[in-house]
Amino acid sequence: MSTTPAAVQPVPRGGMARLVGRRLTDWLPAVVVLVGMIGLWEGLIRAFNVQAFLLPRPSAIATTFWDTRHELWSAGWFTFQEALGGFALGSGSAILLALVLARWRILGSALMPYAIAANAIPIIAFAPITNTWFSPLNKSSKITIAAVLCFFPVLVNTLRGLTSVNPSALELMDSYAAGQLQIFRRVRIPTALPFIFTGLKVATVLAMIGAVVGEYFGGALNALGVLILTRARVFEFNEAWAGVLLACLLGIALYLAVAALERLTLRWVPSTLE
């Protein structure tokens, strides 16, 4: 060959470190900030003698978290199932609807304005109503809220992905006399995947918010939102804060799970390989 190919490494595969995508040293600054923040929090509360009902010390929250871990975990798992159910239901139906809207544009232009308008509705305001549709003790009411919350960001992102295909890529498929179904499978859906994952990552956070806040309006006794609410009412702030901490951890776990799936799926995107 007349040209010497540039030395390019093949795409690296696998490995937990790959999945996380960064070396430990890259994480160090973030860890230092976290430790510093917690230390500052602890120190300021001790120095100014802040009352526990305003803000407990991190060490007290951590101790309570550990002491009540069985009760917490049972409540957390219950609520996590609601969030997961809502996430799956909402995201799944949003992706399906986006596929339909992208395939039949006329439907898209008829429905998208309402989808965008509906996206602006504070959906959490409906939580008391879904509690009356289903029993408040039932998971269904929270799954519904979480699903509706997840629905719109996934719908809008998926649709944007499906329609942001390079025109030349479509022209090329035309030159092969490819059918609509083949174009969807081979061009539109792969193009949309990074957009879909962006929507899904937003949705993970919303699912957890939907489930916990939904429970504030009434839920099963062993649910995380109910636990936080009742403990705060009886001035057990350490316990309430431990519940909030668990809600955060579960939300982050769901987010990281989707982010890991994204890295596995989008192996061709250079930024996820660095």
Binding site: V8, A169, Y176, L193
Partner: protein, 257 residues
């Protein structure tokens, strides 16, 4: 049999006449360049041959078939200015895409991909993703993909327009080698006079407003062409001839008869 036959073809976009009264015949094994300034309709003409755009009137056939039938039968492969590789597919899978659409079985596909990778000299890069390749390498993948199903005709829309001059001249040599090896007919859209003169057996000069053919120049340089072809006096004569034809077309536009 004539590969491309265009008769009295006209294309209008609303009020604008993009192409008017185009007649062109291209024989098997020819390498025909369409050259002209922006807006002369050369890319439009290429897309009409490929049935990606419909003409307003007149006819265009490929291998004696109407353009639509030729597209459905996959009688041509096309290469754009951007390589238009699918980011999520490796080099091998990009080349195999048209074969998948044509429902070739896995073994036949793999054999053909190997053959094409050899042809464009990308051995060792089969499992690379497009972002890992240079612009020239990407365009070679694009050419391999266009030729993978052995089309009689290769349509190229300024395929090297985005490359630097050095890479471009190297790719010109590569393309001539591939053209000889594959035996296909090429229609090549370009802005570059020297590229057209170096590559072609015939240069079709077009002029704008309305887009029309203002001259056809036979390039009788001996085959195969080499790096020294560019230094021959006759090459310069031909380049001059193409340039003058281009300016003539331009003057015709300035002073309408």
């Amino acid at each position: 049999m004539t590969v491309v036959q265009i008769k009295d073809l006209t294309k209008r976009f609303g009020e604008t006449t993009a192409l008017q009264g185009i007649d062109l015949e291209i024989e098997p094994g020819e390498f025909v360049s369409l050259i002209g300034p922006s807006g002369c309709g050369k890319s439009t003409l290429l897309r009409i041959i490929g049935d990606l755009i419909e003409p307003t009137s007149g006819s265009s056939t490929v291998n004696g078939k109407p353009a639509r039938q030729a597209r459905i039968d996959r009688d041509y492969g096309i290469v754009f200015q951007d390589a238009v590789l699918y980011d999520w597919r490796t080099v091998a899978k990009n080349i195999a895409l048209p074969l998948e659409l044509a429902r070739w079985d896995r073994r036949r596909r793999a054999a053909k991909v190997r053959e094409m990778v050899d042809l464009v000299e990308l051995t060792g890069f089969e499992n690379h993703y497009p972002w890992q390749l240079s612009g020239g390498m990407q365009q070679r993948v694009s050419i391999a993909r266009a030729l993978s199903f052995d089309p009689a005709l290769l349509l190229m829309d300024e395929p090297f327009g985005a490359l630097d001059e050095m890479t471009r001249e190297r790719m010109n040599m590569e393309l001539l080698r591939i053209w000889e090896a594959s035996g296909s007919t090429v229609v090549f859209v370009t802005h570059s006079i020297s590229e057209a003169a170096f590559l072609s057996t015939r240069v079709v000069v077009m002029s704008p407003r309305p887009g029309r053919i203002s001259g056809v120049i036979s390039i009788d340089l001996p085959q195969p062409r080499t790096a020294t072809t560019r230094e021959e006096p006759h090459f310069f004569e031909l380049v001059t001839e193409v340039r003058e034809a281009l300016h003539l077309g331009h003057d015709m536009e300035r002073t309408p008869a």
